[in-house]
């Protein structure tokens, strides 16, 4: 008798499995059609590191205080600085980040008191040539140009850190800025209208 | 009659021809860059530990053995099935006897654990 029960049980469960898959066959796909659609990146997104410039003057916010360099766990940041004879303040003469070893930890952003360095939601940074992995100051500044942010107050108490907000543009930052690395992104561009997709309000919502 | 099977014979040639022509065509356009590692056997990213033309375990063999016997039996079933209705009960009983003997064989094999994968 138990054999019969086992068999019927087995068949029932086999059919149950089939039911699950066929149920999903008629559900909406949750796939992001990448080059055409993109997620709206969350504000805190920790992608490519950029240097922020002052919105009015266009100058880098960085005061070359070297805090980020010290904080970086992988020593990806190298800063050289010089004292500006006029203002008697330090200014970075070269600011490179080795994106080949950066681990996108965000400690540099946390260390900087001048809202000068930030991790953004940019992620389309693939390249053909390894030497381009080392981002120099100009490039970092270029990347940071369209990044919106709020100048951070000198935070005394470290609680409830108000984050600089950033709304990354979804289109190719690099292709737009038309810089040295712009070649070879045609297929990402020519897909026409790029839709922005909010992250799923759980897939159920779409059915 | 011979015409029927001539088709089969010619189809053999057509199939082989098709595949060989595809291979040949592929040969024309594919690259060929051999290197010593490439011509070694693949074994999950290591060089093989030993030659693999090795002597294999008996377990599959027993199944093949039993299979031969039952395959032969199937051969007898087909002509019987084709004329069964015309011959009626007698043929059916005959076949029952035939089947019974072989089912006995199956049961024997079962009991002897020849069907067991040990």
């Amino acid at each position: 008798m138990s054999l019969v029960r086992q068999t019927t049980n087995g068949i029932y469960n086999l059919i149950l499995g089939l039911a699950v898959t066929v149920k999903h066959l008629f559900k909406h796909a949750i796939t992001l059609q990448y080059p055409k659609e993109r997620w709206t990146m969350p504000e805190r997104s920790r992608g490519t590191v950029v240097l922020l410039s002052d919105t009015e003057t266009g100058k880098l916010n960085c005061t070359a205080c070297l805090m980020c360099e010290k904080a970086c766990p992988v020593a990806a940041i190298t800063i050289e600085r010089e004292k500006n004879p006029e203002t008697k303040k330090f200014e970075p003469t070269s600011f490179t980040i080795d994106m080949g070893i950066c681990c996108y930890c965000g400690l540099c952003e946390k260390a900087c008191n001048f809202s000068a360095i930030k991790l953004t939601g940019k992620y389309e940074m693939s390249i053909y040539d390894k030497s381009e992995l080392i981002y120099d100051m100009d490039f970092l500044q270029k990347l940071g140009r369209d990044v919106k942010y709020e100048k951070r107050k000198r935070v005394v108490k470290k609680t409830a850190v108000k984050k600089a907000t950033a709304k990354p543009k979804t289109t190719e930052a690099r292709a737009e800025s038309g810089d040295k690395k712009a070649e070879g992104t045609s297929s990402t561009k020519d897909d026409g209208d790029v839709k922005e997709k909010p992250k799923n309000e759980t897939e159920e919502g779409k059915e | 009659m011979i015409g029927n099977f001539a088709y089969a014979g010619i189809w053999v040639l057509v199939a082989i021809g098709f595949v060989v022509i595809t291979f040949f065509f592929a040969r024309l356009i594919r690259p060929q860059r051999p290197n010593p590692t490439k011509s070694r056997n693949y074994e999950c990213g290591e060089f093989p530990l030993s030659d693999s033309h090795l002597q294999y375990n008996v377990k599959y063999y027993l199944f093949a053995l039993i299979f031969v016997i039952f395959d032969v039996e199937v051969v007898f079933l087909f002509p019987w099935a084709a004329v069964f209705r015309a011959l009626g009960l007698f043929a059916f009983i005959e076949m029952l006897v035939f089947l019974a003997i072989l089912i006995f064989g199956l049961i024997y094999a079962w009991k002897k654990k020849a069907l067991q994968w040990v």
Binding site: L66, E69, K70, C72, V74, A75, I77 | -
Partner: protein, 162 residues
């Protein structure tokens, strides 16, 4: 038993073998002589009051600068009584020397890999280890012990002090 009780029990039981004892970071800790390393391990495992059937952690610390040797640290643990004990021993060594000690892999099979790792990284020889091959390092590693302090070797780049 809580840590103190355990410590008390053990120090009383194995008085003659324990050099030092105390509670470090909430864990009962004893220090033994390298010679007693294996025998006391066996006792601790077999003792019905302690029943240290499992090893929670097992490693070495390079204390050559401070204490003149390597310290082996093993944290034992009992599922039954839910108590743990750290046992330490100091293997005196100078410079590039490789100190020796009896293996524990016969007492706890799990110590096997821990010891292999420690052996290749610190250069401590575990006498009687059943399988003294490299565990983590390449098969053709040149035989130096990278976890020793101050080691440097093939394309090893120390993080620049910025």
């Amino acid at each position: 038993m809580d840590s103190e009780g355990l410590l008390k029990y053990i120090t009383e039981e194995y008085k003659d073998k324990i050099i030092d004892s105390g509670i470090v970071g909430g864990v009962a800790t004893i220090e033994v002589k390298p010679g007693d390393w294996e025998s006391i391990a066996e006792y601790l495992k077999g003792d019905m009051e302690t029943r240290f059937l499992s090893v929670s952690n097992y490693g070495a610390v390079d204390y050559r600068e401070k204490l003149g040797g390597y310290q082996l640290v093993i944290t034992l643990f009992s599922y039954e009584f839910n108590h743990k004990l750290t046992m330490k021993t100091l293997l005196p060594a100078e410079g590039e020397e490789c100190p020796e000690i009896k293996t524990l892999s016969a007492v706890w099979p799990v110590a096997d890999w821990f010891e292999r790792e420690t052996a290749e990284l610190f250069g401590i020889v575990f006498v009687g280890h059943p399988d003294p091959r490299h565990l983590m390092l390449d098969e053709d590693w040149d035989g130096e012990y990278p976890m020793r302090r101050g080691w440097s070797g093939r394309d090893f780049i120390t993080k620049p002090d910025k």
